[in-house]
């Protein structure tokens, strides 16, 4: 188990997308990138990600955070590379580090 904190950008292309919808877009990008993110147990398992506070709809930022629990081990740089290839335009991982 490893926890990686990512800093990401919410760019102009997605500034009108709600936080909830961005979270879903993120999770789908993680699926496409096939990253080993940990899942919760139970009937309806979900990815173990904790999200930073939501910013206002309509605002851009390159200082957003989320923390991913990884099932196994992953180099932060590899995470950045793989995830950035799958995120929709306007979302971008700027930095990632093990916490």
């Amino acid at each position: 188990m490893q926890r990686i904190k990512v800093q990401y950008k919410k760019g102009a292309e997605v500034k009108f997308i709600s936080h909830r919808d961005l979270m879903r877009a993120f999770q789908r990008a993680i699926r496409r990138a096939d990253l080993p993110v940990a899942y919760s147990q139970g009937f309806n398992p979900h990815m173990k990600i904790s999200w930073g506070n939501a910013i206002k709809v309509g605002a851009t930022s390159d200082n957003e955070f989320a923390e991913l629990q990884i099932d196994g081990w992953l180099k932060p740089l590899e995470l950045i590379d793989r995830l950035n290839r799958h995120l929709p335009k306007g979302l971008e991982i700027i930095d990632a580090f093990v916490v």
């Binding site: 009108f16 997308i17 789908r28 309806n44 398992p45």
Partner: protein, 562 residues
Amino acid sequence: MKDELLLQVQKPSRYVGNELNAVHKDWNKTSIRFALAYPDTYEIGMSNLGLQILYYIVNNQPAPSGVEVPDCLAERVFTPWPDMEQQLQTSNLKLQSLESQKPIHEFDVVGFSLGHELTYTNIITMLKLGGIPVRSAERGENDPLILGGGPCAFNPEPVADFFDLFVIGEAEEVLIEIINTLRNAGCVTRNARLEKLSGIEGVYVPGISKTVKKRFVKSLDPSPYPLSPIVPFIEAIHDRAAVEIMRGCKWGCKFCQAGWTNRPVREKSPEVLLQQADELLKNTGYEELSLISLSSSDYSSIDTLAKTLAQKYEKKKINISLPSMRTNSFSIKLAKEIARVRSGSVTLAPEAGTQRLRDVIGKNMTEENIMEGIKAAFEEHIEAVKLYFMIGLPTETEADLLGICELATKIFNLGRSFSRRARITVNLSTFIPKPHTPFQWERQITIAETLEKQKFIKQNLRVKAIELRWHQAEASFLEGVFSRGDKQLSKVVEKAWELGARFDAWSEHFKFDLWQKAFAECAIDPNNYLKERQKDEPLPWDFIDAGVPKELLLNAANKSSI
């Protein structure tokens, strides 16, 4: 679109696009530009498989010989919600496509998908806001061609005056033929272009075509299918990957337009489906894969297909869902085996309350079938059952309505013997005699009759724990009028729009009094459209060959008049 504007409206993300897999082409490098328009909200339109298929086909048309880059482009546009409509109007802005943010009058073709009669006023909204004359007759050389297709095009007459052409039936192949015709038509006049387009089988050009034959693709395997569909940010109504496993339905229920107009039955092969599912999931990241068709239980190898997929994607925690399965012990068992996330409810559509009436309407379902399926569901701890019935069916008597109450009560009692939490919902819709079905000559009951029947069932459904819901009588009335209507009705649509009718399929927006006023001002009695028609009387949709000869419909109709 301006930020200040977007900040004023509900759900601004409906209007910005930029979703995963959306196609952004260089506007100036294309010469045949389609706006694919859906006359409802973004969330509804983006759940439409047809729209994604056509978007894919146009955007993937290879360049014609001698041209370097692909010359075709398709972009999307949906009906702005009334708050956005107002914003556009007060800021004097035009309705734009999502991708290039171009006003829709700048496109060569604006193609509307007609999925429901109660979206017709939204077409007017989009044309007006798009800067396009509403009536075909008023359009000039610089206006786009307005094209209509989809289920309602099987009787296009009520909206024919707004359209330059229609595609009847499945559009995959026709669309390519339209593109080729437009490529060759060069800069000749609009009328010459329409004349040429009317020569394509499946294309109806009002005023030019005399008859038209519906088109369908022969085989689904080679038919183009989007494997990188757009993945909306906002939760669409159907927010999942979908593979179409089959088209058509073998049952021929006599009220069902989809069943009669989507013939013949065609299956996609399991090999193709497995490959498509794989690509789709890889390219979208969806957590659910849905196998869709009109009646999935009839797919030859549904059992193996569903289990293979479930097994293959178990590790990835992808849920396989099977809507449109007949509820019986087989489907319950299968659902149990494949579903990771179990649905807590089953849906069953007996349509009529007695065996006699189910036989009349050709619904192949006995009470034994029904009870067996429901029992299997209760045994699997499913606690919610949704039942669908129609009222106003041909030959219906009080006994048939009482039958609905009895059947629902029986199911309720069975449910309670399994669990105290068993919940039954009865949904009533009003029977609409749809064109191209054996019931097309039947009458539709009046609003007063509908209300009376709803009340009768409410009174006789003694178990108050059974939830009873129904379609608004006035909405079904209007749907009946427009599905059976003729050319006269276009002025009513326009009038109702002027009076303020918008999003009529949304009960919170539907204002029947506006429609009454519109009919009155146009001096049209809508009730005439719901009357019984004589078998030898010409019908407004007679000129459309939907693939089923009238004699066959007549035969089926006679069999039902017991």
